[in-house]
C-alpha cells in the first residue's frame, strides 16, 4: 500500500496510464463490433466476436481490479475472499456444460 508522498505521486501516474489504456480498450471494443474491416470470424456477430469482446472486457476489468482496486499488492485475506467469489461465480457458468447446446462449439449463436 502506497503511503509515502513519493509513492502516491508515482501511483497517480500509473492511474493516468491505466485510464488511457481503459479508454483505448473501450474504443477497441466498439470498433471491432462496428467496423466491418475489423470484424473477425464471419460477417456480423458470431462466436469469435463474443470471444474477442470478452477478452478485451476481461483485460479492462483486470486493469481496474489490479491497479485501481490495488489488488496488485493486497493482503492474503483479500485474495482468499476474491478467489472464493470468482470460483463460485465460475461454477454458475459451469452449469452451462449441462445445457443442451454449447455456446462455443455448436453453431447456435445466430438465429
Amino acid at each position: 500500500m502506497a503511503n509515502s508522498v513519493e509513492e502516491i505521486q508515482k501511483s497517480k501516474k500509473t492511474y493516468m496510464l491505466v485510464f488511457g489504456l481503459l479508454l483505448i480498450g473501450t474504443v477497441a471494443t466498439v470498433l471491432v463490433a462496428t467496423v466491418e474491416a475489423l470484424d473477425i470470424g464471419e460477417h456480423g456477430f458470431d462466436k469469435w466476436d463474443a470471444i474477442l469482446g470478452l477478452i478485451i472486457a476481461t483485460t479492462k476489468a483486470s486493469l481496474v481490479g489490479l491497479i485501481f482496486m490495488h489488488l496488485n499488492h493486497e493482503k492474503k485475506a483479500i485474495y482468499w475472499i476474491f478467489i472464493g467469489a470468482l470460483l463460485l461465480c465460475a461454477s454458475m457458468f459451469a452449469i452451462l456444460f449441462l445445457a443442451k447446446y454449447s455456446p462455443i462449439f455448436d453453431n447456435f449463436f445466430y438465429l
Partner: protein
C-alpha cells in the same frame, strides 16, 4: 467507546476492518452479477425467438463507459489527495465523480424512457412491427383500445364479489353520454348483515351504481359467512351426538358416519348471489385498454371478471409512425416448417395489405443484393466456391429505423442537420423532421386519412399503419414484458443503475459531511474513501462487462 481497527491494521488480517468488510461485500456482489450474467447466457442460448443482437444505442452506452471509467480515476485521485492531506483537491475530484454518476443516470434515464414509449407488435404470422403509437391531440393519446358495442338488450354481468369502480364509472359515463341506462335485469336475493337472517332484495330495474355493486358484494359476503357459521355449528352438533354412540372408539373409526343434516339446515341457509346482470336500454359504445380486457366477438371479459355481452367493434392498433419491420421471427418459424423465407414473407399480412411495406421491402431486397455482391467482391470466395462473408439474418430480414431513414432520405431528399442526427442516436428516430409535411392535428381529426395515409405525395419516412386487432399476436412496449432479452437487459442495467445511485450517495456523504472527520482523524476518512472507492471501481467493473455484452453482442 473507541472503535478498533479503523486506522490500524489488525494483526491477523493485516488490514483495517472496513476493508475486509467491503471485500466480503464485493465478493457477494461478484456472485450476484455473475448469476445474472449466467442467466443472460442461458436465456440467449435457450431463446426460441431471434435474439435481438446489437439492438441498443451504442453511442450513449459508449459515453456512459467513458463517464464511469473517468469517475473511477477521479475517485482514486480523491483518495490520493486525502492521503496527501489536500482537502481542496479531494473536494474537486469527488465533485467530478458525483457529477459523472449523475450524467450516467441521466443518459440511462433517456435510454429507458425511449424504450417505454416505443411500441412493438408481433402479428399472428410472427412478423414484427415497431413504432410509435402516440397521436397529438392537445395531449398525447394512443389509438389502441378495445371497442365494444352495446345495444338494447345487451347485458353486463358483474362478479358477485369484486369489480373495479373506475371501470364501472367509465361505463356509466359512456351510457349517460348516449342517454342510455343500465338496470338490474332480475331480482337479486341477498342478506344484509352477518346475523340478519332476513333476506332483502335488490329489485329488478335498480340502476347500476358503484354503491349498488358494493351492497351486493357485501350481501354475498354476509350470506357466505352466515352459511359457513351454520354449517360449522351443525357439524359440531353432529359430532356431539355421534360421540356417545361410539364409546371406546377413536374419532377416525366412525368419522364416515358423522355428517350434517342437510334437510334440517337447508331452510336456514341464505341464498348465494351468483352475480348481478344489468341490461342496457339503448345503444352505446365502451372502450378499454387492451391489457384490461380479453376480447371476444360477442363476449368480452374485463380483468375484474366483469363479463360484457356486446359486439366487438373494429379495434385496430394505430401506429402513428411505423419505424421498423422485422421478419426474422417469421423466417425462423417458416424455416422450421420447411417453407422458403421469400414465400413466407410474400404471404405475410404486412406484405399482402400494406403498399408501403411492399415498396420498402423491394428497396431493401435490392440493398441486400448490393451488400451480398460487395461482400463477395471484398472478401472473395472460399475454396469450395462459397462466399466467405454473407449478410446476416438481421441484415436480410429486418428493416430498422435507420434503414427507414435512409430510404426516406433517398426517396424524398429529406436532409437532417448534424445535430438532429446526433440527437437521433440518443432519442431514436426524429419523427417530425423525417415526416416534414405531415400535420399532426389533421392526421388525428380526419381518421380516414390517417389510417390510409400512404399518400405518395406526402414525404413520409415513417408512415402510418393500422393493424386490425385480430392480427395481433402479442403487443408490448419495449419493456421487460416484450421478451426475455429486454427482461434481462432491464434487470442487469437496472440493478447496476441502483449501484451507481447508492455509490454516489455514499461518496457524496464523504464530500459533504467528511470535513469534521478530516479535522479529527484524517486517516479514518481516508480509509472510508478508499472503501467507498473500492465499491465505485466495482460498479465500473460491472459496466465494463455490461456494455459489450448487452450493447455490442
Amino acid at each position: 467507546m473507541e472503535i478498533p481497527y479503523i486506522v490500524n491494521a489488525r494483526k491477523d488480517t493485516g488490514l483495517f476492518n472496513a476493508k475486509i468488510a467491503i471485500w466480503l461485500f464485493l465478493a457477494s456482489e461478484v456472485m450476484l452479477f455473475g448469476g445474472f450474467f449466467s442467466a443472460y447466457v442461458f436465456l440467449r442460448l435457450g431463446a426460441d425467438y431471434p435474439w435481438p443482437e446489437r439492438t441498443l444505442p451504442v453511442l450513449p452506452g459508449l459515453i456512459n463507459t467513458f463517464v464511469l471509467i473517468g469517475s473511477s480515476v477521479t475517485v482514486v485521485f480523491a483518495w490520493a489527495a486525502l492521503k496527501l492531506r489536500n482537502w481542496r483537491q479531494f473536494q474537486i475530484y469527488m465533485w467530478i465523480t458525483i457529477l459523472c454518476a449523475l450524467l450516467f443516470m441521466v443518459l440511462k434515464g433517456v435510454e429507458y424512457n425511449v424504450k417505454f414509449h416505443h411500441q412493438a407488435v408481433r402479428l399472428d404470422d410472427y412478423s414484427v412491427v415497431e413504432g410509435h403509437l402516440a397521436y397529438y391531440d392537445g395531449t398525447h393519446i394512443e389509438k389502441n383500445r378495445i371497442n365494444i358495442q352495446l345495444t338494447e338488450g345487451s347485458t353486463i354481468v358483474y362478479n358477485n364479489l369484486r369489480f373495479h369502480a373506475k371501470w364501472v364509472e367509465e361505463i356509466l359515463a359512456e351510457a349517460k353520454a348516449a342517454g342510455a341506462t343500465l338496470k338490474l335485469a332480475a331480482d337479486v336475493k341477498g342478506a344484509e348483515g352477518y346475523s340478519d337472517e332476513k333476506e332483502t332484495y335488490f329489485k329488478a330495474g335498480a340502476p347500476l351504481t358503484v354503491e349498488l355493486l358494493e351492497k351486493i358484494a357485501k350481501a354475498q359476503i354476509s350470506a357466505r359467512n352466515h352459511n359457513q357459521t351454520l354449517r360449522s355449528k351443525a357439524l359440531a352438533d353432529a359430532w356431539e351426538i355421534a360421540k356417545p354412540k361410539h364409546p371406546g372408539q377413536s374419532d377416525w373409526e366412525y368419522s364416515d358416519k358423522v355428517s350434517i343434516d342437510e334437510k334440517a339446515i337447508k331452510p336456514k341457509l341464505l341464498t348465494d348471489i351468483l352475480g348481478a346482470t344489468f341490461k342496457v336500454d339503448k345503444s352505446f359504445e365502451v372502450s378499454f385498454k387492451p391489457r384490461d380486457v380479453k376480447e371476444g366477438a360477442e363476449q368480452s371479459k374485463l380483468r375484474d371478471d366483469t363479463v360484457i355481452n356486446g359486439t366487438l367493434l373494429p379495434s385496430p392498433m394505430e401506429f402513428h409512425y411505423m419505424d421498423a419491420i422485422d421478419f426474422q421471427y417469421l423466417v425462423m418459424k417458416a424455416e422450421k416448417k420447411g417453407i422458403k423465407p421469400e414465400v413466407a414473407i410474400a404471404n405475410s399480412w404486412l406484405m399482402q395489405n400494406d403498399p408501403f411495406v411492399r415498396e420498402i421491402w423491394a428497396w431493401h431486397e435490392a440493398e441486400i443484393t448490393k451488400l451480398r455482391q460487395r461482400l463477395k467482391d471484398d472478401y472473395k470466395l472460399d475454396e469450395k466456391g462459397e462466399p466467405n462473408r454473407v449478410p446476416t439474418h438481421k441484415e436480410m430480414y429486418r428493416i430498422g429505423w435507420k434503414e427507414f431513414a435512409k430510404y426516406g432520405e433517398e426517396k424524398h431528399k429529406i436532409d437532417l442537420s448534424g445535430t438532429d442526427k446526433l440527437k437521433e442516436e440518443f432519442m431514436g428516430p426524429n419523427y417530425n423532421a423525417r415526416n416534414p409535411d405531415e400535420k399532426e392535428a389533421t392526421s388525428h381529426n380526419s381518421n380516414e386519412e390517417a389510417s390510409h395515409g400512404h399518400d405518395s405525395h406526402a414525404p413520409l419516412t415513417f408512415p402510418h399503419l393500422s393493424i386490425p386487432r385480430e392480427q395481433i399476436g402479442f403487443a408490448s412496449k419495449f419493456a421487460p414484458a416484450w421478451n426475455t432479452y429486454y427482461a434481462i437487459y432491464f434487470t442487469i442495467t437496472g440493478l447496476h443503475g441502483l449501484h451507481v445511485v447508492g455509490g454516489a450517495i455514499v461518496l457524496a456523504y464523504y464530500l459533504f459531511f467528511g470535513r469534521r472527520m478530516y479535522d479529527e482523524n484524517p486517516e479514518w476518512l481516508c480509509n472510508r474513501v478508499e472503501v467507498g472507492g473500492l465499491f465505485w471501481h466495482f460498479v465500473d467493473l460491472v459496466w465494463i462487462f455490461v456494455f459489450p455484452i448487452l450493447y455490442l453482442m
